[in-house]
C-alpha cells in the first residue's frame, strides 16, 4: 500500500515542453489549386497568345504591350505553382526547426506569389488569342471593390468592438437609398454623402440597441435588419421615388478628379488617381481605421472591449457605450459604401441594388482576419474576380460567366475552411456584455 514511486530521477522542469502541431490545411488548399491549374492550363490548355495592354491611347506615358503565349505560360506557371506548393509542404514538414517569424514570412510570400501566378496564368489561358486591357481591368476592380471596402471596414470596426455585423448589406442599401434621395432633392452630392452616413448609422442604431440593450442574438438582428431595410427601401422606391423619378431619384454624381502628377504614372495612375472623391475618401478611411485600431487610444479601448469586455469594464471603460458608438461609427463607414452605388457608379437607386455586396464585404472581413488592411485586399480580390468576369465576357472567354461570379464565394469557402480556419476573431465578438 505504501508504494512510493518516482517516475524519473530528473527534477521536474519549471517550464512545459513544447511540441509542434502541424496543420496541413494550407498545403492541401494549395495542392487543390495546383491540380486545378494542371487540368485547366495544361490538359485543357489553349493555343494562341494573350496580349496584356498596359496603357490606353490617352496616357501620357505609353508602355508597350505584353504578349504571352497561352500554352507555354500555362505550363511554366503550373510548374512554378507546384514548386511553391512544395515549398509550403516543406515548411509544414520542417515545422519549428525554422523560426516562427521566418516561417510566417515565407508562407505569406509563397501564398501571395502563388495567387499572383495563378491569376496570371488564368488570364493568359482565358483570353488566349485576345487582348486584355490591364488598366481597365484594374480600374473596374477598384470601382467594384470600393463599396466592399467601406463595408468591410465597417465590419472590422463593429466586430472588433464585439458586435457581429451581418447587417452590412442593410447599411449599404440604406446608404445608397438615402444618398440618391437626398442628393436628388438638394442637387448636391455632398449632402447625399452625409445622408448615406446617417442612414448607415440609423441601421447601426437598431443593431446596437437590439443586441446591446435587449441582448438579442446579433446574427439574428443582422439578418432581420437586412430584410427590413430591403423591404423599406423597396416599398419607398415603389411608392415615393417612382412617383417623381426626375426630382427624387436622379442624383448628381461626383465627378472624376485626377490628382495631378500622380495620375500620370503608368498603370497605377489611371487606376488609383483618376477617381472620384468617394474613392479618395476610401483610401483615407483604410489608413485611418488601420492606424486608429492599432495605434491610438480609441483603438486600444475598442479592441479591449471586443476581446475581454469585463477587463475593460474594470479599468473604467464603459463597455456598452463603447460598443454602441463604435457600431454606429461602423454604420457610417458602411453607409459611405452605399453612397458609392448611387453617387458614383450609377446616379439612381434601384430595388435591391447592392445585390449581396454586403455579404461579400462580410466575407472580406473574415478572409482578412479582422484586419483592415488585409480585409481591403480581400475586398480587392473579390472585386477583381467580379470585374474579370465582365472583361472576359467582353472578349469572349471559355469560362461561363456564372463560374467567374461564383469565384469570390468559392475562394471564401476555401479560405474559411482551409487557410484561415485557424484564425480567431475578437474573443468576445457576438457575446452581449451583461453586468451583475
Amino acid at each position: 500500500m505504501s508504494t512510493i514511486t518516482t517516475p524519473d530521477t530528473t527534477p521536474v522542469s519549471g517550464t512545459l515542453e513544447s511540441t509542434e502541431i502541424r496543420s496541413w490545411k494550407a498545403p492541401i488548399a494549395l495542392g487543390i489549386f495546383v491540380v486545378v491549374a494542371a487540368v485547366l492550363f495544361v490538359v485543357a490548355g489553349r493555343d494562341g497568345a494573350t496580349t496584356f495592354r498596359l496603357s490606353s491611347d490617352t496616357d501620357l506615358v505609353q508602355l508597350a504591350d505584353w504578349v504571352l503565349p497561352a500554352r507555354g505560360t500555362g505550363l511554366t506557371v503550373t510548374v512554378l505553382l507546384a514548386l511553391l506548393a512544395a515549398v509550403v509542404v516543406g515548411l509544414t514538414v520542417a515545422g519549428s526547426r525554422l523560426g516562427s517569424r521566418a516561417r510566417r514570412a515565407i508562407l505569406a510570400v509563397s501564398i501571395v506569389a502563388f495567387t499572383f501566378l495563378f491569376l496570371l496564368a488564368f488570364l493568359t489561358w482565358a483570353a488566349a488569342g485576345a487582348a486584355i486591357p490591364v488598366t481597365g481591368l484594374l480600374l473596374g476592380t477598384v470601382s467594384l471593390s470600393a463599396p466592399l471596402i467601406f463595408g468591410a471596414l465597417g465590419g472590422v470596426i463593429s466586430e472588433r468592438v464585439g458586435v457581429v455585423n451581418v447587417a452590412i448589406e442593410g447599411q449599404l442599401l440604406a446608404g445608397a437609398f438615402c444618398a440618391a434621395l437626398v442628393a436628388s432633392i438638394t442637387g448636391n452630392p455632398f449632402a447625399g454623402l452625409i445622408a448615406a452616413m446617417v442612414a448607415g448609422v440609423l441601421v447601426s442604431f437598431v443593431l446596437a440597441a437590439f443586441s446591446i440593450k435587449y441582448l438579442v442574438d446579433q446574427v439574428i438582428v443582422g439578418v432581420v435588419l437586412n430584410v427590413l431595410v430591403l423591404g423599406l427601401t423597396s416599398f419607398l422606391y415603389s411608392t415615393v421615388l417612382s412617383q417623381d423619378t426626375a426630382g427624387l431619384n436622379t442624383a448628381p454624381r461626383f465627378p472624376r478628379f485626377p490628382i495631378p502628377v500622380l495620375s500620370d504614372i503608368p498603370v497605377v495612375g489611371p487606376v488609383l488617381f483618376r477617381q472620384t472623391l468617394i474613392v479618395y475618401l476610401m483610401y483615407i478611411a483604410v489608413i485611418a481605421v488601420y492606424v486608429g485600431l492599432f495605434h491610438t487610444k480609441w483603438g486600444l479601448r475598442l479592441r479591449a472591449v471586443g476581446e475581454h469586455p469585463q477587463a475593460a469594464d474594470t479599468v473604467g471603460i464603459r463597455v456598452n457605450a463603447t460598443r454602441f458608438w463604435n457600431v454606429s461609427l461602423a454604420g457610417a463607414v458602411a453607409g459611405l459604401g452605399g453612397a458609392y452605388f448611387t453617387l458614383d457608379s450609377v446616379s439612381s437607386f434601384g430595388k435591391d441594388m447592392t445585390a449581396g455586396a454586403g455579404f461579400i464585404a462580410l466575407a472580406a472581413v473574415i478572409f482578412g482576419r479582422w484586419n483592415p488592411i488585409r480585409a481591403t485586399f480581400a475586398a480587392l480580390l473579390f472585386g477583381f474576380a467580379t470585374n474579370l468576369q465582365n472583361v472576359l465576357g467582353a472578349i469572349g472567354s471559355p469560362v461561363p460567366s456564372e463560374f467567374m461570379l461564383m469565384l469570390p464565394y468559392l475562394v471564401t469557402i476555401l479560405a474559411v475552411a482551409g487557410l484561415v480556419g485557424y484564425a480567431r476573431g475578437p474573443a468576445a465578438s457576438g457575446k452581449p456584455y451583461i453586468k451583475s
Binding site: Y214, I220, L225, G231, L232, F235, A363, P400, V416
Partner: protein, 421 residues
C-alpha cells in the same frame, strides 16, 4: 423542505422555485410570457406598416395639404388607406366576403395554405438547425439545388404516376440535404463558421443553377431563350387537394407529416435528444460521449433536406410551369423569421408559417387592389421578428410589468462552439 408545494418564505439561499398553482402559472405565462408578447408584436408591426401605408398614400398626402382647414379629411384618408389595405390583406388571405358562395369566398384561405407550405417546411429546417445551435442561412442555396434536382426529375423522367412524384421529391430532398451536408461537413472537419459557409453557398448555388438554366441540354427548356426550365410533367406535379378550383395541393399533407416528423425527431427520438443536447451545451454533450461533429453533419443534412422539401414544394406545387433561378422566392430567408416567430418549436413554426403564408397571399391581393406594394409585408414580417426577439421592448411600449423575472432561454439561438482541443 421537500417539494410538497408549500411556498417557503424568505430563505437566504436561492432555492428552486416551488411549484405554483397551475392556473396562476398559466396566467403568468400569458401575461408575462410568449403568447401576449407575440400578439402585441404582430399588432405593433401591423401598426407601423399602417403608418407607412398612410404616409405614402396619395389621398392622404393630398388631404394633408389642407390639414389645418379640414383635418378630418386627413384622418378619413388615413383610415381609408390603412383599412382598405388591411381589409384587402384579409380578403386575400382568409375569407373574401365580397363573394357570394362559400366555395369561392374561402379560396384565399387555401391560397394562404399553399403559400404557407414551403414556408413551414423551410422554417422547420431552419428551426431544427437552431435547436442544434446552428444558424442555417443557406436556405436559398439548399432550395435552389433541391428545386433543380426535383425539377430535372420532374420534367425529364418518364415514370408512372405516383412513382414519378416520389422520385422527384426524394431527388429534391437529397439535393437540399447534400447542399446542407456540405456545410455540416466543413464545419465539423475544419471548424469554419456555418453562417459564412451558408451565405457563400447560397451564391454558389445561385450561379450554378443560373448556369444550368441557360444551358440547353441541362435545365433549359428546348425552345426557350430565357433561362427557364420546361414545365413539369403531369405525373410529377402535386395533385390538387380540393379540385382544380383551388391552388392547394397534396404537398400540404406532406407539410403536416414533416411537422409531425420533426416534432417526433426533436422530442421523442434519441437522435433528437442528442441534437438538443449539442444545441444547449456542446461541451457537456461531448463529455457525455456524443460525437458532436457528426451531430453537426446529421443536423445539417436533415435541415438541408427540409429546406430541400421547400424547394420541391415550389417546383412541383406552387409553380409547376417551369422554374427560373428565382424559384426560391426569398423563402430561405423568410424561413428564418418563421422559425424565430415559432420559437423553433415544430408546431409553433407551423402556426408562424401559416401567418406568413397569409401575409404573402394577402400581400399580393393588397398590391393588386389597393396599389400598396407587397414589400410592406416584408417590413411587417421583419418587424414582428424584431419585436418578438426583444420582449422588454414590447413590454415597455405597452407599459406591461416585467412578467418573468427569471431568465428564460428556451431555444438556443446562439451558436455555441465546442472549445478547440
Amino acid at each position: 423542505m421537500s417539494a410538497a408545494g408549500t411556498t417557503t418564505a424568505s430563505s437566504p439561499t436561492p432555492e428552486p422555485s416551488a411549484p405554483q398553482p397551475r392556473a396562476n402559472a398559466i396566467l403568468k405565462e400569458i401575461i408575462g410570457g410568449n403568447v401576449l408578447i407575440t400578439i402585441l408584436a404582430v399588432f405593433l408591426a401591423l401598426l407601423i406598416g399602417g403608418i407607412l401605408i398612410a404616409f405614402t398614400n396619395e389621398d392622404v398626402q393630398e388631404a394633408a395639404g389642407y390639414f389645418f382647414s379640414r383635418p378630418q379629411d386627413t384622418f378619413l384618408a388615413i383610415w381609408n388607406a390603412v383599412s382598405g389595405a388591411y381589409v384587402a390583406l384579409f380578403q386575400g388571405s382568409v375569407y373574401n366576403f365580397r363573394r357570394d358562395d362559400f366555395a369561392t369566398a374561402i379560396r384565399p384561405l387555401t391560397d394562404t395554405l399553399t403559400y404557407a407550405a414551403p414556408l413551414i417546411v423551410a422554417g422547420l429546417g431552419v428551426g431544427l438547425a437552431f435547436r442544434v445551435g446552428m444558424f442555417n442561412i443557406g436556405g436559398r442555396g439548399q432550395m435552389l439545388i433541391a428545386a433543380a434536382a426535383a425539377g430535372w426529375v420532374g420534367f425529364s423522367f418518364h415514370l408512372p404516376w405516383g412513382i414519378h412524384l416520389i422520385v422527384a421529391i426524394v431527388a429534391g430532398i437529397a439535393g437540399g440535404a447534400l447542399w446542407g451536408g456540405i456545410v455540416g461537413l466543413l464545419k465539423a472537419r475544419t471548424g469554419a463558421h456555418e453562417v459564412i459557409l451558408t451565405i457563400m453557398l447560397n451564391y454558389v448555388a445561385f450561379y450554378l443553377v443560373s448556369y444550368m438554366l441557360r444551358t440547353p441540354g441541362l435545365l433549359q427548356a428546348p425552345d426557350q431563350v430565357n433561362p427557364k426550365s420546361p414545365p413539369m410533367l403531369e405525373t410529377a406535379i402535386f395533385p390538387a387537394l380540393f379540385g382544380p378550383a383551388y391552388k392547394l395541393h397534396a404537398g400540404f399533407i406532406l407539410v403536416i407529416l414533416a411537422t409531425i416528423f420533426v416534432w417526433w425527431l426533436l422530442n421523442r427520438s434519441s437522435l433528437g435528444f442528442r441534437f438538443r443536447a449539442v444545441g444547449e451545451n456542446p461541451n457537456a454533450a461531448r463529455v457525455a460521449g456524443m460525437d458532436v461533429k457528426n451531430i453537426y453533419v446529421y443536423a445539417m443534412l436533415v435541415s438541408g433536406g427540409l429546406l430541400g422539401l421547400a424547394g420541391v414544394m415550389q417546383v412541383l406545387g406552387t409553380v409547376p410551369t417551369g422554374f427560373s433561378s428565382g424559384i426560391d422566392a426569398g423563402i430561405g430567408f423568410d424561413a428564418i423569421t418563421v422559425a424565430l416567430l415559432g420559437r423553433s418549436r415544430p408546431w409553433g413554426i407551423f402556426a408562424a408559417g401559416i401567418l406568413f403564408g397569409a401575409f404573402k397571399a394577402g400581400g399580393y391581393s393588397m398590391q393588386a387592389s389597393e396599389g400598396v406594394p407587397v414589400d410592406v409585408v416584408t417590413i411587417v414580417q421583419s418587424l414582428i421578428v424584431l419585436f418578438i426577439a426583444a420582449p422588454p421592448l414590447v413590454r415597455a411600449i405597452f407599459f406591461l410589468p416585467d412578467g418573468t423575472r427569471r431568465k428564460r432561454r428556451t431555444t438556443p439561438i446562439v451558436t455555441k462552439e465546442v472549445e478547440a482541443k
